[in-house]
């Protein structure tokens, strides 16, 4: 599909404020917790031990308390749930065994918060502790107790993929380097804590369920499964959602618990988690150790890569299998690198479960890769840009692991940030303690095979047109702040030739919208955008027929622009939008059409086991330059400025694309500089926003965004994703800037002041030892 030329009358490509933005700036936006009203207050009782066998739960005293409406425990739900049909091993409340500190074991609903708190205290809980493991190494020890009986060695999944001949590749190299990088576990820390408001409708035995979810369809399915209900008796509503970043891209235990409590009380229940509980619900990026070997020729050409990745995944499966597969799959697709060996291990530990987080599976591996490339470039006295340019792909192509690459804007990205940052003129001339670093990254535009494979299209959008002349777009795509509803409105408006304001987008209510898989893997613009265009074309066909009948012309000759229908080549024959709508409705009443999108077979990845993960219709590509200052006395790094270019195919809404790129670069900065979860014997030490530090406005640099448009042949208007691809480039670009500034190579993330000082001391000591040896 060709990108539209940017003109005043085209909606696609025009900077467009969010269609649901007015509600957000006036306070009219209602988020889940805002809907609680007079609902009963629900609270969760959580395990005080990290690993143990539940000997006894007695809820008698709690149930007898005045004002307590319902108490539920693990005994009330015998169905495991989990995002992957092949790895469902988690219960909404623990049964028999607890596997992490903070795991739900019971829950109450009461008339008010104080009563609910008293009821939790009245529940008698007896747990016999088991040995607990807080690192991947401890969990993998030969004598370790298994967290899950069917997973020997506490390894949830190991992956071994070899493409090309990595050994031969390394042998051909002029320089081979190996390094091990340790990246801390991090959390999404989306601003809105988790919440669900569930209402049981007695008599009809129906459940009306509001939640903060990014995946209403999955939550709908899992509620039906765990509550043993006909899905038709559940209405799933997604109100305004305060950010996701992957934190709610799978159904979470609190959602099932809210459903169970609502049914037990026979009424409305609000379960609003605290920030601490939201952090414990976790599903963040796992602590990851990457051991990487790279081979490079003297001219910068990469010859081979061997990567071993160990992820500490927490107590349950979640998205873990996908995470460990992504980590290997996306070693491919950025550079021309035919020889890659990947060994991945996803390990269980007695900690809150990890999951999908922005840049799912790829961020820590990309950090290791780009950082090692930067060091080797330095060793070979090559410019980091030169090394990247020596390894570019030429689209279209399929990677050795079967990933389809149809568009590739990385060369332009490199040119743009190199020029904008003044790289050639400024690098090495910034003065002491200041440096420039760069790195590249990429990400998928939607997984070509969804985790719940049903055979249905990947996305469906329906459009309604009625007497009022408004076009209502019905989509299940969850708007969570990323601008998906605005993207749908623009796509529809542009295709029909009408104002964006004429399109009303309804999203996220299962009573009215078509099913959608959800807001994850950056799938919405590519898949839902294409479906929206398809639906709008179908509507345009009906309108063109009506207009053609009135204008006595061929429908194929009818154009609509600026809400005026005309016959191509004729200046006189024109009809207004209202006239054509009236004519079209006169044929058969109000119009409903739909459009759908299905990923082509060839985009669905290689035939090897796990080959579907990483497969996509199009990759976004990004390059960025980071300028940083290092205070060697305090170990404090200041990010002064960032220049980033991202190839999003085509910017349907350049305003939102910029916002996504800025936000993702910034989130990469948080991970690179300061973010880290910490536990003491399984107890979270980061359970607030003071202890889990995210960058404030004072810590945050100007970010200069350059949009590169490679126009993907399959993307809607040529578009690809924009919200994830730039994230993983930030940490290595910062590490490179630090190396450039003070000559210090860091192997651990985050580059927090304590780690920087530790590395500086270690470096100084090593230098002293070397000098002593020399003197002796």
């Amino acid at each position: 599909m060709n990108a539209p030329a940017r003109t005043a009358t085209r909606a696609a490509g025009t900077r467009t404020p969010l269609v649901d933005g007015i509600e957000k700036v006036t306070g009219r936006a209602r988020f889940t917790a805002d809907l609680a009203g007079d609902a009963a207050v629900a609270r969760i009782l959580r395990s005080p031990v990290a690993h143990g066998v539940i000997r006894r739960i007695d809820t008698t005293a709690a149930e007898a308390l005045p004002g307590v409406l319902a108490v539920v425990t693990g005994a009330d739900c015998a169905h495991p749930f989990g995002v992957l049909p092949i790895a469902m091993n988690e219960y909404p409340m623990a049964r028999d065994r607890v596997r992490y500190r903070g795991e739900p074991v019971a829950a109450v609903a009461a008339v008010d918060a104080a009563t609910a708190a008293r009821a939790l205290k009245a529940i008698e809980l007896q747990i016999d502790p088991l040995p607990a493991y807080f690192t991947a190494t401890e969990a993998r020890a030969p004598d370790a107790v298994l967290l899950h009986d069917d997973k020997p060695g506490n390894v949830e999944r190991e992956v071994h993929h070899v493409f090309g001949d990595p050994d031969a590749g390394l042998a051909e190299a002029d320089l081979v380097r190996t390094a091990t990088f340790t990246c801390a576990e991090i959390n999404h820390a989306q601003m809105e804590p988790h919440a669900a408001v569930a209402e049981w409708v007695p008599g009809r035995e129906e459940l009306i369920f509001h939640s903060v979810t990014q995946v209403p369809f999955y939550t709908h399915k899992h509620l039906a499964r765990c509550l043993e209900m006909d899905p038709a008796k559940i209405r799933l509503v997604k109100p305004f959602v305060g950010g996701g970043f992957g934190s709610r891209t799978e159904t979470l235990n609190f959602e099932i618990i809210a459903g169970l409590l609502a049914r037990r009380t026979g009424g409305r229940v609000a379960l609003v988690l605290s920030r601490e509980e939201t952090l414990i619900s976790h599903r963040g990026r796992p602590e990851t150790e990457v051991t990487l070997a790279l081979g490079m020729r003297a001219d910068g050409r990469l010859t081979a890569c061997k990567a071993e990745v160990v992820m500490r995944g927490g107590a349950y499966a979640g998205y873990g299998i996908v995470t460990i597969l992504y980590a290997g799959a996306l070693l491919h697709g950025l550079y021309d690198l035919p020889n890659i060996r990947y060994d991945g291990y996803r390990v269980y530990a007695n900690l809150p479960p990890c999951g999908a987080m922005r840049g799912h599976g790829t961020v820590d591996v990309r950090h290791a890769f780009e950082t090692l490339v930067d060091r080797m470039a330095h060793e070979l006295d090559l410019d980091p840009f030169t090394v990247r340019r020596a390894n570019l792909l030429e689209a279209p192509l399929f990677t050795p692991n079967g990933l389809m690459v149809n568009s590739y804007g990385l060369p332009d990205c490199l040119d743009r940030v190199e020029a904008a940052s003044g790289w050639k003129e400024r690098r090495g001339k910034l003065g002491p303690g200041r440096g420039l670093g760069m790195a590249c990254s990429h990400y998928v535009s939607g997984a070509a095979k969804p985790v719940h494979w049903t055979g249905e299209p990947h996305a469906v959008v329906a459009l309604r047109l009625d007497f009022d002349g408004a076009v209502t777009a019905l989509t299940g795509a969850p708007e969570i702040g990323q601008g998906s509803s605005t993207m749908v409105a623009i796509s529809v408006a542009d295709t029909l030739g009408i104002d964006v304001g004429r399109v009303r987008v309804v999203c996220g209510d299962s009573a009215t919208v078509p099913k959608d898989n959800g807001a994850y893997s950056s799938r919405i613009t590519f898949m839902v955008g294409n479906a929206a265009i398809g639906a709008a074309r179908n509507l345009r066909t009906e309108l063109a027929q009506a207009a053609a009948a009135k204008l006595e012309a061929d429908p194929a000759d009818i154009d609509c622009a600026g809400e005026v229908f005309s016959v191509r080549g004729s200046a006189q024959s024109q009809l207004t939008w209202a006239e054509v709508v009236a004519a079209a409705l006169a044929v058969d009443g109000p119009i409903t059409v739909k459009g759908s999108f299905t990923t082509p077979e060839k985009a669905q990845g290689g035939g090897h086991r796990g080959g579907a993960v990483g497969s996509t219709m199009g990759f976004s590509y990004a390059a960025q330059v980071v300028e940083a200052t290092v205070d060697v006395d305090l170990g404090r790094i200041t990010v002064d400025r960032v220049w980033v270019a991202l190839d999003c195919g085509f910017a349907i809404n350049p305003l939102a694309v910029e916002g996504q790129i800025e936000g993702s670069v910034w989130m990469g900065m948080g991970q690179a500089l300061m973010e880290e979860t910490r536990y003491a014997e399984g107890l979270p030490l980061h359970a607030s926003l003071l202890e889990y530090r995210v960058p404030t406005i004072a810590d945050s640099p100007p970010i200069e965004v350059h949009i590169v448009e490679s126009v993907d042949p399959l993307g809607p208007f040529g578009a690809k994703e924009a919200g994830e691809g730039a994230l993983s480039g930030f940490p290595p670009a910062l590490a490179a800037a630090v190396a450039d500034a003070i000559g210090l190579d860091m192997d651990a993330l985050p580059l927090s002041p304590d780690r920087v000082l530790e590395a500086l001391v270690a470096k100084r000591r090593a230098a002293q030892r070397a000098k002593r040896r020399e003197d002796a």
């Binding site: 404020p17 926003l689 995210v694 004072a698």
Partner: protein, 165 residues
């Protein structure tokens, strides 16, 4: 103990029976139904619940309702102009994409309103200093700074025009 709390909320006088230990955030959300006041953390960490008490930004989640006896309290709902017209800050946050998910936005706009009432044309450093207590996880703050600067410029231009007129 319960007391009668009298205050001016978004320009209207109110009297409510409140418990001595009732937090301002619960009073505003539950009694006054002003749900723009958001609970984003477990107390005083994120700035999503900021409201203006006699013109100064205060975290409603660590303020007692009783402390606002006789005070003028303003929330985001009260910052729109006559007839519900968007204030320059509200419009700029909307048009410049200062709000993505919108959860931190009420606190952000409240903080920025307090800033612009005191400082007509704040430089970037002053904006960063004023909003340091407001966390946002979506925007990287780039467009928030842009929105505040845009609103400040517009308000200054309006005043110049008024003075000239």
């Amino acid at each position: 103990m319960t007391r009668i709390l009298r205050l001016t909320l978004n320009g209207r006088a109110r009297a409510d029976a409140v418990a001595d230990n009732l937090l301002l955030i619960d009073y505003l959300r539950d009694a006054a139904r002003l749900t723009s006041v958001k609970q984003g953390c477990d107390g005083g960490e994120c700035g999503a619940c900021l409201v203006l008490v006699d013109g100064s930004p205060r975290p409603a989640c660590i303020t007692l309702a009783a402390q606002c006896e006789g005070a003028k309290v303003e929330t985001l709902e009260g910052l729109s102009g006559p007839g519900g017209a968007l204030s320059p800050l509200q419009r700029a946050f909307h048009e410049r994409l200062g709000a993505q998910c919108g959860f931190c936005t009420p606190g952000m706009v409240v903080s920025a309103t307090a800033l612009l009432r005191k400082t007509k044309r704040p430089d970037e450093g002053a904006i960063r200093a004023a909003l340091e207590g407001n966390l946002c996880r979506c925007t990287g703050y780039v467009k928030i700074i842009d929105a505040v600067q845009t609103a400040a410029a517009e308000m200054a231009a309006d005043q110049t025009a008024e003075a000239a007129g």
